[in-house]
Amino acid sequence: MTPDDTESAPPVWSRARRDLAAVLWPSFLIACVATMLLFAFIDPADFGEHLPHSLWSARTAAYSAGFFFLWLISIASAALTLYMVRTSREERGGPAR
């Protein structure tokens, strides 16, 4: 309990870093939900009659590819939204923050 104990400053993320987090993370969450929805109704094994590998790797590969595809789509959408917000008149004319 020494009074001269130094305090660590609360870290402040740069704007670029905050933007990156705001684009990647929410789109990750949405991609998770979307993947669940998609593959609840679609069984990838119903497509390819001749599955290349065992069923395990075929379905798992399809789920994984589906997830990353949906994540990419959500990233694109989130990034575009962020771009629109960031380049709007009020944002540019607003107080420099």
């Binding site: 660590s8 400053a9 609360p10 870290p11 993320w13 870093r17 609840a40 069984d43 395990w56 379905r59």
Partner: protein
């Protein structure tokens, strides 16, 4: 909704992310969180290893497209139940938030739970707060290298174990660890193990509470569930101010001082680096570290505890506190209804499914004796845990026969059986008509299902 004040005055707000060195503290809420961490992590790492009726008790068998949760098996057709469960979970979170604030954040969120564990591993390798700060400032001595390496070894192995356990919820953990021993893991098993391990390592080792501040959506909308009667972490301004340093045992009233001795230990203890004395802030994850920190100081000063405590805005302003209020009643009633509905629906659920698919190759076949035959594939889905012998029957507007006349399909528990059905009729009065296929268990007549199908034959 305050922004953290720029440190050391006048600096740019866009300073590079600095490290937080939360001060270790002891107290009631730290113990409570530690208990929660043990219980939740124990659940996570042990659950996949528990067997139930010959299968992994909790297994979200993605490749097999069925979820086992103890006696309950959910199929893709039961998607509604899973969504229902998720809605119940979300509403429970709202309910708890309205009553007790960010309890979830402080005690149960995976981010908190794993961060706590990673901080503990950092502490046993690099030492306490002061030692860690000195170590980071100091030169790269052999001791520093050793301590840093030890920490990384612990972090990485724990993260890998976490990743493997995570994948073990989706594909049998026993076969997973067996194939790991023989280095025969599939590419996707390896990929997802590493993916989750990396996420754990990064989130709990480095990002920590920055995830709550910058990435967590719940942190942003939880205040919508708050009202003046929600339990929050508060600083009792009335009692604490004016704050100031004083000699222990000196007369604070003579010096015109409140109970806050301005030791700033609450700030040092805060994992998000805020000062709770400035009021409720969005960064506060309600971990109550500052409560424990302040209570210890109050004990030393021989002041009553609770200068920083769980309280409500109404209580602080000496207004009446309401535990029962419209918000709580609405959330509570909705939650009770959803849970009751779920239990009823899952109890009444038919544990048997039947799908009839037409043979794609031929519409119909005319047999030598004048009968017309249609061929179908019956998909029998047994959601029950036990195997059943299912008797298949057909009923239509005209007399129908099955070939062979009596078909009994044996379906294993939690399995699908594909049974070819040859349906024939000698009545040509209808060119096309719908009929019903029904199945029932020979050992349990209440276990039954039916499906509609279409019969096609040459016109007149």
């Amino acid at each position: 909704m305050s922004t953290p004040a720029p440190h050391a005055g006048g600096e740019s707000l866009f300073v590079a992310a600095e490290k937080i060195y939360p001060r270790e503290i002891k107290g009631r809420f730290v113990n409570l969180r530690r208990a929660a961490v043990w219980a939740l992590l124990g659940l996570f790492y042990v659950l996949p290893w528990i067997e139930w009726n010959g299968h992994q008790a909790v297994l979200f068998d993605l490749p097999g497209r069925k979820f086992h949760i103890f006696a309950l098996t959910l199929w893709p057709q039961d998607f509604i139940f899973l969504s229902w469960l998720l809605i119940i979970a979300a509403l429970s979170l709202f309910f708890v938030t309205a009553v007790a604030g960010r309890l979830w954040c402080g005690y149960a969120c995976p981010q908190t739970v794993w961060t706590e564990t990673f901080v503990w591993m950092e502490r046993i390798t690099e030492g306490r707060r002061g030692a860690r700060m000195a170590l980071d400032r100091g030169p790269w001595t052999p001791e520093k290298i050793l301590r840093k390496c030890a920490k990384q070894v612990l972090w990485v192995s724990f993260a890998l174990w976490t990743g493997m356990t995570f994948v073990g919820f989706f594909s049998s953990v026993r076969s997973l660890s067996a194939s790991m021993m023989h280095l025969e893991l599939g590419p996707w098993e390896v990929f997802w193990t590493l993916f989750y391990a990396f996420a754990t390592y990064g989130n709990a080792g480095y990002l920590r509470e920055q995830v709550c501040k910058y990435m967590c959506p719940y942190a942003r909308f939880q205040s919508a569930m708050f009202d003046r009667d929600t339990l929050i972490i508060t600083y009792d301004t009335e009692r604490g101010e004016p704050r100031g340093a004083r000699r222990r045992g000196s007369d604070q009233h003579a010096q015109n001082l409140g109970d806050c001795i301005d030791c700033r230990i609450c700030v040092q203890a805060c994992p998000t680096g805020i000062d709770i004395r400035e009021g409720l802030q969005i960064e506060c994850i309600a971990c109550a570290a500052c409560v424990d920190a302040c209570d210890a100081v109050m004990d030393r000063m021989a002041y009553p505890r609770g200068l920083v405590r769980y309280s409500t805005q109404n209580a602080l302003e000496h207004k009446t506190a309401h535990v029962i209020r419209p918000r709580i009643i609405v959330y509570g009633t909705l939650l009770a209804l959803l849970i009751a509905g779920f239990i009823v629906a899952i109890t009444l659920r038919t544990p048997f499914g039947l799908d009839i698919l037409r043979d794609r190759n031929a519409l119909y076949r005319e047999l030598a004796d004048g009968a017309v035959e249609n061929v179908y594939m019956a998909k029998l889905l047994n959601k029950d845990e036990h195997a059943h012998d299912m008797l298949i029957e057909v009923h239509g507007p005209v007399p129908l026969e099955l070939d062979p006349a009596r078909i009994v399909a044996h379906v294993e528990g939690g399995a699908v059986a594909n049974v070819p059905l040859r349906v024939l009729t000698r009545d040509a009065s209808l060119a096309t008509f719908g009929f019903e296929v029904s199945v029932r268990a020979e050992d349990d007549p209440s276990l039954k299902a039916s499906a509609a199908a279409r019969f096609i034959q040459p016109g007149h």
